[in-house]
């Protein structure tokens, strides 16, 4: 004990609280410098003794710790001497300059040649501190730039080349008075996911994205732009500049691991529904080139494919209707005497073809996860030729997909001789390479496709005119395959969700989530309600109570009480240029959001006059055609609109759209269909082609009366009729839709109580397009009563009652209702809500609790009773 006390009295403190400048050297002026100095020597350690020094110099300097000393922290508790997780690490740049003491947030490196040379590290701080978004920017004078690293950046170059609501990568933007530019970088196959482990995501093969756009202002009115994008596969085992991203990238290690032993070409009828005039194959030839440059033609070495399927005609084979012709070239066949597959550098095919062909190709290296071959499109015939008048020699090289490149130009001019112009032309090059493990550079094949559009408009008050023309090849593609998203380097050519990257996303509801499932993107939409978003909250106005935290898959027009304000889309007015019976702005499809459809070429011209500030008359002509089919849409249309706000009275709207249409192009949709009284779901809707040769008239009128204070009176009527000019077996001669909505609400107060009665009536009379669908004559009448009782200063009790009756009109008593029709029903809903809105911790806290009871009775069906009880708190910034 005495010894201990003596030690305590005589021993110097073992550490200093002030670490001072111990972790850096002090320079003139007291500045601490952390720059590297290289190995040095501690003067005190220069003892000519045999014993080795095993305590860091810093600990000896600061704490006088020596390796033979006993450590006892009884009185002075142990304190960690360096805690990098709290105070950060020291970081040096590539020149060795000290950068900062802090934390690594994001690091993307690519080193070649080596295994796993492509690595992206997003540390957990990237997530938690910066919420997956880092921005570095600077400016001087007119020059500005910004470097953005993010997981969901809203990025658009042009609508036909790159447009994503959630781009995961790096975006560098530059802007000056006359110039602006953007560069995009990403590794979409593994964009990196921040985890608490802080482990870089390292790959040997990956798919990288490199792209950009620059704009130059020429004069005051013209803007010229150029766009370039390439998504290419890269492999870090390759040296130097092999796998140039600008010329097709590289095969992945998996693609190049084994030689191809079997190639299969499949020919089919591109318009199988007509059952005739499909692919006609007259001749086929394979051309093989080995690594020594020798060229072998199949006919010379008697290397014939196994020809299966098709109808044998005189001199050719045809694939009509659902028939397929397959040509299987098997390099492992004992009869094959060409070069060994391991020394094949290039394989080409020549096919003499005609009629309405569709050519696809696969191999034993182009498979899905189950090793089943996946056919990829090579070529489709233009039009629907049946008489051999498009006979051609189709040549193509086989290879595995390695890159997709798009480059294009834009021209925008404003107010030149009164005209506004926007034009865009884009070239698409899809690269493939033939694998050979003995080669670093592989033979490249390229498939070309183009797309272009322009808009020209002029307003010369009161006249206006607009012309648009467009064309997009069917093969035009803004997608690429992703290498190794799930398993090391492999590609499943069939799995779009995990192995396909889209430059242009499908996002018909224009929210922050793409509509399709793709790897490395923000969460997919569970429900897509395309349509109006007039309040710009990224939520469709058809489903206003759908939020990220609490998803709601029921459109408002189906929900109690909310259904007063929201009306069904079929009761509303809109343009239907593709004549599929759905208003264009309410459509959802499964295609990228190109401004014009793929495989379509057309022009649309309209001109009009503003008859008065409220009235507009437009006359136009649309002519578009399928490029690879024989579909065509020709429409002549007249559109009259009248919209007037009358002070103290209300608003009047009148729309009249009359058109003569010949449209046999199918525009299929993927719509959210909401069955009555049930849960909705996405369903594929096949275009019934209701306007193949048809007069179509749509009339819509709306009167919003506000002449009496606190009374709103809204009336909407829509009448649409399709009058077929020819008889069709599946279509009614005259199909029509008549919808009438009348709504009124009035708010008044009785003492402190606010009472709001509402009434809504919906009448529908429809003769559907299809003869199989029954006619509908339905009436829905709904009465709402809402009363608000203020209890205290911030507390309300709200009572709501909704009574609704739905009724089918029958032609005769006793006729059973068609099963596709909804039965008559009554609905009674009672809701009570206790609401408090108060301040709490700087937020406006809204606390709501209550219940809702609903009883529905159906004709010939059991009734149902449902209830909802809720207790909900919202923290807001405003009321």
């Amino acid at each position: 004990m005495l010894a201990v006390l003596w030690l305590a009295a005589t021993t110097q403190p073992m550490f200093a609280q002030d670490t001072g400048t111990r972790l850096g050297s002090v320079k003139r002026g007291g500045r601490v410098d952390f720059s590297p100095k290289g190995p040095g020597v501690l003067f005190d350690a220069l003892d000519p003794a045999v014993k080795k020094w095993y305590v860091p110099q810093e600990l000896y300097n600061e704490y006088r710790w020596m390796q033979w000393e006993y450590t006892n922290y009884a009185r002075e508790s142990y304190q960690r001497y360096v805690n990098t997780s709290q105070e950060g690490d020291y970081f040096y740049d590539i020149y060795g300059n000290f950068v900062t003491r802090g934390w690594l947030v994001y690091d993307w490196q690519q080193n070649r040649p080596q295994q796993f040379g492509s690595g992206i590290l997003k540390t957990n701080r990237y997530n938690t501190w910066f919420d997956k978004l880092i921005i570095a920017s600077d400016s001087k004078g007119q020059y500005h730039y910004s470097l953005t690293i993010g997981d969901a950046i809203r990025t658009t170059l042009t609508p036909m080349t790159f447009s994503k609501p959630g781009f995961n990568g790096v975006q560098w933007d530059f802007a000056a008075d006359k110039y602006s530019a953007t560069m995009l970088l990403a590794r979409p196959s593994r964009p990196g996911i921040a985890t608490s482990l802080d482990i870089p995501d390292q790959k040997t093969s990956a798919t990288n994205l490199l792209g950009g756009r620059s704009i130059v202002h020429v004069g005051d009115f013209v803007e010229v732009g150029a766009t370039y994008l390439t998504a290419f596969q890269t492999q870090t085992l390759l040296e130097d500049f092999s796998g140039n991203p600008f010329s097709g990238g590289a095969l992945t290690t998996d693609q190049n691991a084994l030689p191809i032993s079997r190639i299969i070409i499949r020919l089919a009828d591109d318009s199988p529904q007509d059952g005739t005039g499909g692919a006609a194959l007259f001749d086929d030839e394979i051309i093989i080139k080995d690594t020594d440059g020798n060229v072998y033609r199949g006919s010379e070495i008697n290397f014939e494919p196994i020809r299966e399927g098709g109808f044998q005609r005189v001199g050719y084979i045809s694939a009509d209707g659902d028939e397929r012709i397959t040509l299987t070239y098997d390099f492992t066949d004992p009869a094959y005497i060409g070069p060994d597959p391991s020394v094949i550098e290039e394989v080409s095919f020549e096919l003499v073809l005609s009629n309405d062909y569709r050519v696809e190709v696969t191999s034993d290296r182009q498979t899905n996860i189950d090793s089943q071959p996946v056919f990829l499109l090579v070529e489709r015939a233009e039009g629907n030729i049946r008489d051999n008048s498009n006979q051609r020699l189709l040549k193509f090289d086989y290879g595995l997909p390695t890159a997709n490149v798009i480059f294009g130009f834009t021209l925008e001019a404003n107010q030149i001789w009164g005209f506004d112009f926007y034009g865009e032309y884009d070239f698409n090059r899809q690269y493939r390479q033939y694998p050979n493990v003995n080669l670093n550079d592989h033979h490249k094949a390229v498939k070309k496709a183009d797309a272009w559009m322009f808009n020209l408009s002029r307003i010369d008050d009161p006249f206006f005119a607009f012309l648009e023309a467009y064309s997009m090849d069917d093969a035009y593609s803004t997608r690429t395959y992703l290498a190794g998203t799930l398993r090391q380097d492999e590609i499943d050519y069939e799995d779009e969700a995990f192995y396909v990257y889209e430059f242009v996303d499908d996002n018909d509801d224009q929210d922050r989530r793409p509509d399709w499932t793709r790897f490395g993107q923000p969460l997919v939409d569970n429900a897509v309600f395309p349509g109006l978003d007039e309040n710009n909250d990224f939520i469709s106005d058809f489903n206003q109570n759908d939020t990220e935290d609490r998803e709601n898959f029921v459109p408002d027009y189906e929900e109690p009480f909310l259904r007063y304000h929201s009306d069904r889309p079929e009761f509303l007015f809109g343009i239907d240029m593709n004549n599929n019976g759905w208003i264009d702005r309410f459509e959802n499809d499964e295609e990228p959001d190109y401004p014009y459809g793929r495989d379509l070429r057309g022009r649309n011209l309209y001109a009009g006059v503003m008859i008065s500030p409220e009235a507009k008359l437009t006359v136009g002509w649309l002519d578009e055609e399928l490029i690879s089919g024989d579909g065509r849409n020709r429409s002549a249309y007249v559109l009259f609109t009248y919209e007037r706000d009358i002070a103290d009275l209300g608003r009047v709207r009148l729309y009249e759209n009359f058109r003569l249409v010949e449209d046999n192009i199918a525009d299929n949709l993927f719509q959210w269909v909401q069955p009555p009284n049930s849960r909705g779901t996405h369903q594929r809707i096949f275009d019934p082609l209701p306007a193949r040769d048809t007069w179509v008239n749509t009339t819509y009128a709306q009167l919003d009366y506000r002449g009496i204070p606190h009374l709103n009176f809204i009336n909407k009527v829509k009448y649409e009729v399709y009058n077929q000019r020819e008889e069709y077996s599946d279509l009614r001669g005259v199909s029509s839709f008549f919808g009438l909505i009348n709504k009124a609400d009035y708010t008044f107060e009785v003492g402190q109580i606010e009472i709001e009665p509402r009434i809504k009536s919906e009448f529908l009379h429809q003769r559907p397009f299809s003869k199989r669908d029954p006619k509908r004559r339905e009436l829905t009448e709904t009465l709402f009563l809402i009363a608000r009782f203020p209890l205290l200063r911030h507390t309300l009790i709200e009572l709501g009652l909704e009574l609704s009756r739905f009724e089918q009109f029958r032609d005769r008593d006793g006729v059973p209702l068609h099963r596709a029709l909804e039965p008559d029903s009554n609905s009674r809903i009672l809701a009570v809500q206790f609401a408090n809105a108060g301040d709490y911790l700087g937020y406006k806290l809204h606390l709501q609790t209550g219940m809702r009871l609903q009883k529905q009775t159906f004709e010939n069906l059991p009734s149902s009773t449902t209830s909802t009880i809720f207790m909900t708190a919202y923290a807001g910034l405003e009321r």
């Binding site: 020809r307 001199g315 005609s354 034993d364 090793s371 008489d387 051999n388 008048s389 051609r392 099963r819």
Partner: protein, 660 residues
């Protein structure tokens, strides 16, 4: 009904005429399937078991006991037709035997007990697909979907499902509380590229089901896939899913056995008797044929993985060649493709009723298939019998080739045709030889016959022969006939093995891949010729095939000529008319051609009726009169030919002078 009658009896007469042709005059024979000697049921199989063998078609009656097929010929019996469902027949009971399946696609395979799913179909009421809550097990049932592939398409009008409700398994309360039923007809346009069905809107939806036994009727429709989806989170079980329907199945196939003709034969016409029920336009049948030289037309492959590489082997694990039976015993993921044995068998080819078969010959083995397609539940076809002609070939085979293998389209070319006789078995030989040509030949220059050693046996020079005055005889050789699509030669009996026939003729080729098919007839009474095969007939030519290629192209309007260029339509019998000749190139289908005559002011003075033209040359005479029949004044006129193809409209023009 009238159409039915006409059709049936027209077909019957066609067949009767074939059968009654005295076989003694010709040496051809007829192989008849569907007769008493060769009944349908013993001479073929039906994938999916959806073919019905019916002795008397009149016995097929509907619910009102009305005959479904009307005007059935009394003389014919033993009919083959697609299965017609009775209301009591549970389609799902033999789904698995039919090649269909039952699955729960949204669950991993490890989460599904196949025995339970099989129990949903087998009617045993002991095993059920169980999604009930059990302690310690989390069962999420909202969205669980049972998919049934019926294995073939049926006209479905009723669907029944229920939990086990027996004394042993009293689970009546575990019924499906909310469901949706989706249907897919299995048509290619309603399938994803992967072959999976696309389900759109539910045909039935019941979010609040109160019935343990759901028995729902639907509008009768063709169904291949059915999905039953739970839309309730509550647990349930399904003892059985029963599917009922009516009417004819929409598609059915009958595949004959490999028919052995005893020796190599050549093929003649094929004929069959068919009759239809319902609207004739709502049903059709297609008959495909193929011939071969052994008893195994298909090669079955097994997928194996060797060092991680997928390979196809035609043998089982014991090294034995896979047969259909052993192939079907393989696990599904081991089954590779089934490919035609192309070394010994031809591809399937479509056959026409009363049309000569166009499959390789001579061959010993023959096979046919019948595909029934019905577009309406009430419509179908039935076949009474099917027969095809065959005959012993005059020689074993004839290998032929033609040169040059390539020429200019539409240009008269001198072709040399070699035909080498193979007759190791010493057959009787042939004395008539025909060559198919794309148009009437301009000249048959010479015919020569050599023996196997190359010594000239017979020769004739026909260069100076007028082909409009036939036959032209030169010694033992003659030109018998020249038609628009062939020419025929008379020969001394050619039977020697190795004998070589050399024919030189002038012809034009109008499209890529024109085949100059040769046909050898034993004698004038022979109905079924031996077709030549493309191959190496002589070392003098390297083409080794009968196809002649032209430059690949799509220009359909060929040369236009007007002869004479100056004519005098004054009725003196000299140069009173011109002949307008034009060629049409590349077309496979007839296309409209319009011929007009313009004056130099651009006015149409004569417009000929538009005609449908095929590949080849067309001729038209013009007498110098206008559309009103008036003689045109002298002057220069322009003749224009306009040919409309699917791709474009092309025209050619030529001047002509009218003088008096």
């Amino acid at each position: 009904m009238e159409r039915s009658l006409v059709f049936a009896w027209a077909s019957l007469l066609a067949w009767t005429s074939l059968v009654l042709t005295p076989a003694s005059v010709e040496s051809k024979e007829i192989f008849l399937v569907g007769s008493e000697d060769r009944p349908w049921s013993e001479f073929g199989t039906t994938p999916g078991g959806v073919i019905a063998y019916v002795e008397a078609l009149g016995d097929v009656r509907d619910l009102a006991d009305e005959p479904v097929f009307v005007d059935v010929p009394d003389s014919l019996g033993g009919w083959l037709m697609p299965l017609r469902l009775s209301p009591e027949f549970n389609i799902s009971s033999d789904v698995l035997e039919r090649g269909g399946s039952i699955d729960v696609p949204i669950l991993a395979r490890s989460e599904v007990d196949p025995a339970q799913l099989e129990g949903v179909l087998n009617g045993d009421h002991a095993v059920a697909y169980d999604r009930k809550f059990v302690a310690g097990r989390i069962v999420r049932n909202n969205g669980i979907t049972i998919r049934l592939d019926l294995g073939a398409r049926f006209g479905v009008d009723r669907i029944v499902f229920y939990p086990r409700m027996t004394e042993q398994f009293p689970f009546v309360s575990d019924y499906l509380r909310g469901y949706e039923i989706y249907l897919n007809d299995g048509q290619p346009q309603n399938l994803f590229a992967s072959g999976q069905p696309i389900f759109t809107s539910p045909i039935l939806r019941e979010p609040d089901n109160r019935q343990a036994r759901v028995d729902v009727g639907i509008e009768a429709q063709f169904v291949r896939y059915l999905e039953l989806k739970s839309i309730s989170p509550l647990g349930f079980e399904i003892d059985e899913i029963e599917v009922y329907g009516r009417g004819f199945v929409p598609t059915a196939r009958y595949v004959s056995n490999v028919l052995d003709l005893g020796e190599d034969v050549v093929w003649g016409q094929i004929n069959w008797n068919e009759i239809f029920a319902g609207n004739a336009s709502d049903s059709e049948l297609e008959i495909r044929v193929r011939s071969g030289s052994d008893t195994t037309p298909d090669i079955y492959y097994r997928t194996v993985s060797v060092d991680g590489v997928s390979q196809l082997l035609p043998t089982n694990s014991n090294g034995d060649t896979l047969t259909e039976a052993s192939y079907m015993r393989l696990k599904e993921n081991e089954r590779g493709p089934i490919r035609v044995d192309i070394a010994n068998w031809s591809q399937w080819q479509l056959a026409g009723n009363g049309v000569e078969l166009n499959v390789p010959a001579p061959r010993r083995y023959f096979q046919f298939s019948i595909d029934f397609t019905n577009r309406d539940l009430t419509a179908s076809r039935a076949v009474a019998d099917l027969g095809f002609e065959y005959e012993k070939p005059p020689v074993d085979k004839i290998i032929a080739e033609i040169g040059p293998a390539q020429t200019q389209v539409g240009e008269e070319t001198t072709f040399t045709y070699f035909a080498r006789v193979v007759n190791a078995t010493g057959r009787t030989g042939f004395s008539r030889f025909e060559v198919e040509t794309p148009a009437r030949v301009a000249a048959v220059r010479s015919v020569e016959i050599f023996d196997a050693q190359g010594s000239l046996l017979e020769s004739a020079d026909f260069s100076a022969v007028n082909l409009d005055a036939l036959p032209a005889v030169a010694g033992a050789l003659s030109i018998e006939e020249v038609a628009g699509n062939r020419f025929a030669l008379g020969l001394p009996q050619v039977s020697a093995d190795g004998a070589l026939l050399k024919i030189v003729f002038d012809a034009a080729v109008f499209r890529y891949g024109t085949r100059f098919q040769g046909r050898a007839f034993a004698d004038a009474n022979t109905a079924i010729p031996l077709q030549t095969e493309g191959g190496n007939a002589t070392a003098d030519l390297q083409t080794d095939e009968l196809l002649v290629r032209v430059t690949v192209g799509s220009q359909v309007a060929g040369a236009l000529s007007v002869v004479p260029q100056i004519f005098t339509p004054n009725g003196d019998g000299i140069n009173d008319a011109v002949q307008i000749s034009y060629t049409v190139l590349h077309l496979l289908e007839p296309s409209p051609a319009a011929v007009r005559v313009y004056d130099l002011a651009g006015r149409v003075v004569r417009q000929f009726d538009a005609v449908q033209v095929q590949n080849g040359r067309s001729d038209l005479g013009w007498d110098g009169k206008d559309d009103g029949g008036q003689q045109l004044p002298p002057g220069t006129y322009i003749v224009q030919v306009e040919i409309s193809s699917d791709s474009s409209t092309e025209s050619r023009a030529h001047s002509v002078v009218v003088a008096y």
